[in-house]
Amino acid sequence: MATTLTAREAAPAIRRRRPRSGRFRRVAIVLLFMSPWIVGFLAFILYPMLASLYFSFTKYNLLQPPEWVGLFNYKFMFLHDPLFWQSVRNTVWIVLFGVPVSIVFAVGTAMVLTRVKVGSGVYRTMFFLPTMVPAVAATLSFVFLLNPSGPINTILRLLHIPQPLWFASPQWSKPALVGLSLWAIGETMIIFLAALLDVPRQLYEAADMEGAGPWQKFRHVTLPMISPVIFFSVVIGVIFGFQYFTQAYIASGGQLHLGEPQGSMRFYAVWMFQQIQYSHMGYASALAWVLFLVVMACTVVLIKASRRWVHYQGGFR
């Protein structure tokens, strides 16, 4: 039996269809606008990551088809490769010492700059300028400054202080690299400066009224208020610390002297680079994946731990 829908009965169906097609159109437009990113992500991030995951289970030299070896590369890495552990130790050192020292130095510098009343712009520029110097040029400058007969050691000699061999000494090479990172602390410093200037004055006034001293104000007002920036700097510092390469490459003397002296500047990324040079792409991929997982784990731990010590104004996280 044929039925005829009245306009009232048909209306809800029409109303239902309209939103669905509208939603589809909206999704299509969003996808269209996102497509450059999606294509880029698939082609230049996801595909290389998955390919390198596959290569990490193979012997692969770029010029011949990969040969499946299962977990061999990972077993070799953890059980038989002494230079892997050497590179891990060096990298952990730079993360554990380099990152905190850099943050403390950046906070200290920013705090000093907040107190400068006259010519503050000039001082801020001066402290930020080293950041503009390319890493290679900055490192070469430090190689010159820290030469055993260079300016720094000349001053130390005049002061009757022992003069280290710096980049030529396994004991001093990493501290020298940390010194270099402190010189180019501008970016981190400028973020801390902004955070410090953003701390509400009323909080300090309230602390003053409570009789708080400078340390207490710093401990209970400044630190909590800039804790999100500290957290950000720690995460970024840890990520970059695990990927430390350029400065070590240059300071050790380049291609022919990678990791010297005595392997003290063979960082994880340097060892991975050497494996690529040997065309051990399978092993290099395994190293890359371990690095990725470690960095990911550290970041997750830091994020979890941040809930205990990072204070967000208004309680937002």
Binding site: L50, A51, T58, L62, L83, G253, P261, Q274, Q277, Y278
Partner: protein, 443 residues
């Protein structure tokens, strides 16, 4: 979720398969130079830059005169990893000129550079009558001749004549014990005990010493018959490292490091701050090119050259040394392999071309005929290096597809040894041998 994982895995495998290189051997065609030809442009990837590039270009102009239908387009400044990436990516360059012969086993074993034996057979060329055996050895791997030599380096001893004469020596040392005694006598310290003049710098990281410690002077064996590392079994390694340590301890490790850094560190090797050119080092292990540098830097050092001293118990090795240099090959991705072969042949076997380049670059020529070049052969400072190259005991360290990995591992070990960080040398060498075998196994 499972379906998603399957899709991702397939994607990865597909991608990996797309990335993986492969390749089959193309049938060889040779070109009849006297016939008529359509114009061809060859693309050459080479590592030469600046002055050396213009020298190469001059020789390529000679090639152009001989083969007027071929144009050569040179892409300079290519490093070893660029060749591998280029071949992997299917770049259609026709000739590869690589500075490092250490990569030859990799190219030959993977087919990245094609086996030239078919071309040689087609031309009826017997390489053994053209190129000395030392150069044929480092340009091939396990019977595959995938490259040919384009000049070579040869390492020997440079000595400061004035310093030797002042210390009462009329001849350069021929044995390591003579070198040790001479080096000690030639060393001068400042009043504060620091080093003013070093007789012989024994640090492994100093200038070209890495090559010295490849062990030619001690007759070291890198691999055993079963191709496993011989670090733990060949006593020559222990002898060499003990000599190394004795010398370092004589000077003091820190004093040597300080002296080296005061010269300007590794970079001083390639500038007028070079310790030998400055008269701060009396005896120097170096390659044949140093003479050209000394002249270019206008150093006033009056110097002589000779073969490097050898272990006292192996006098038969005197006159030999390390050799090895630039290699030329045809990538499997070449668009014009037949014309590329003409160029490879020209650069490596044409006497005039080889001699021209050898004179311009100050390197040792690599064919029997070109070694007769009167200018080079009659130069008393260069002649020792020509002789070192032709010595039957001269060689480049045996290579593997792992390229410089074994040598890098040894350098790392030696760095710790000379700094006094290795307590048991024999045990350390055995561990090193294991590490080398494992690294080679990764390839």
């Amino acid at each position: 979720m499972k379906r998603m994982l399957c899709v991702l895995a397939s994607f990865a495998l597909f991608g990996a398969a797309c990335t993986a290189g492969g390749g089959s051997k193309e049938p060889v065609e040779t070109v009849n130079p006297s016939g008529s030809h359509a114009p061809v442009t060859l693309t050459v990837w080479d590592y030469f830059t600046e002055r050396e590039l213009s020298n190469l270009t001059g020789v390529l102009n000679q090639f152009k005169q001989q083969y007027p239908w071929i144009t050569v387009n040179v892409v300079p400044g290519k490093r070893p990893i660029d060749f591998v990436r280029g071949i992997n990516a299917g770049e259609t360059f026709d000739v590869a000129i690589d500075s490092e012969s250490t990569n030859v086993p990799f190219y030959c074993s993977t087919g990245g550079l094609v086996d030239l034996s078919s071309y040689l057979q087609a031309d009826g060329t017997d390489l053994s009558t053209i190129i000395p055996p030392a150069a044929l050895k480092y340009t091939s791997y396990q019977g595959v001749q995938c490259t040919l030599p384009l000049l070579t380096d040869a390492y020997g001893l440079y000595y400061n004549k004035d310093m030797l004469a002042a210390a009462g020596f009329s001849e350069p040392p021929k044995t390591l014990s003579e070198l040790t005694a001479m080096a000690k006598k030639l060393t001068v310290r400042n009043p504060d005990g620091s080093l003013k003049v070093v007789g012989f710098m024994p640090l492994s990281t100093f200038y070209e010493n890495t090559n010295m410690y490849n062990g030619n002077a001690w007759g070291t064996q890198w691999y055993q018959e079963d191709e496993s590392s011989a670090f733990g079994t060949d006593p020559a390694w222990k002898d060499m490292l003990e000599w190394n340590k004795e010398m370092v301890d004589y000077y003091g490790y820190n004093d040597l490091q300080r002296f080296f850094q005061q010269l300007g560190g590794p970079n001083s090797e390639w500038s007028s701050a070079n310790g030998f050119e400055q008269g701060k080092i009396a005896l120097l292990y170096d390659g044949e090119w140093r003479g050209t540098f000394i002249s270019d830097d206008k150093s006033k050092v009056d110097f002589g050259t000779a073969a490097f001293p050898v272990a006292d118990d192996k006098p038969e090795l005197y006159g030999s040394g390390q050799v090895g240099g630039t290699v030329v090959g045809i990538p499997k991705t070449a668009e014009h392999p037949s014309e590329a072969w003409l160029l490879v042949k020209f650069l490596t076997m044409n006497t005039k071309a080889v001699q021209t380049l050898a004179n311009l670059l100050g390197n040792v020529p690599t064919t029997f005929e070109s070694l007769k070049d009167p200018k080079l052969a009659n130069d008393p400072l260069f002649k020792p290096f020509m002789e070192i190259f032709q010595n039957e005991h001269s060689y480049l360290l045996p290579l593997t597809p792992a390229a410089s990995a074994p040598a890098d591992l040894f350098a790392d070990f030696q760095g710790k040894w000379e700094a006094g960080k290795v307590s048991d040398l024999q045990s350390g060498l055995e561990d090193l041998a294991t590490a080398v075998d494992q690294q080679v196994g990764l390839g």
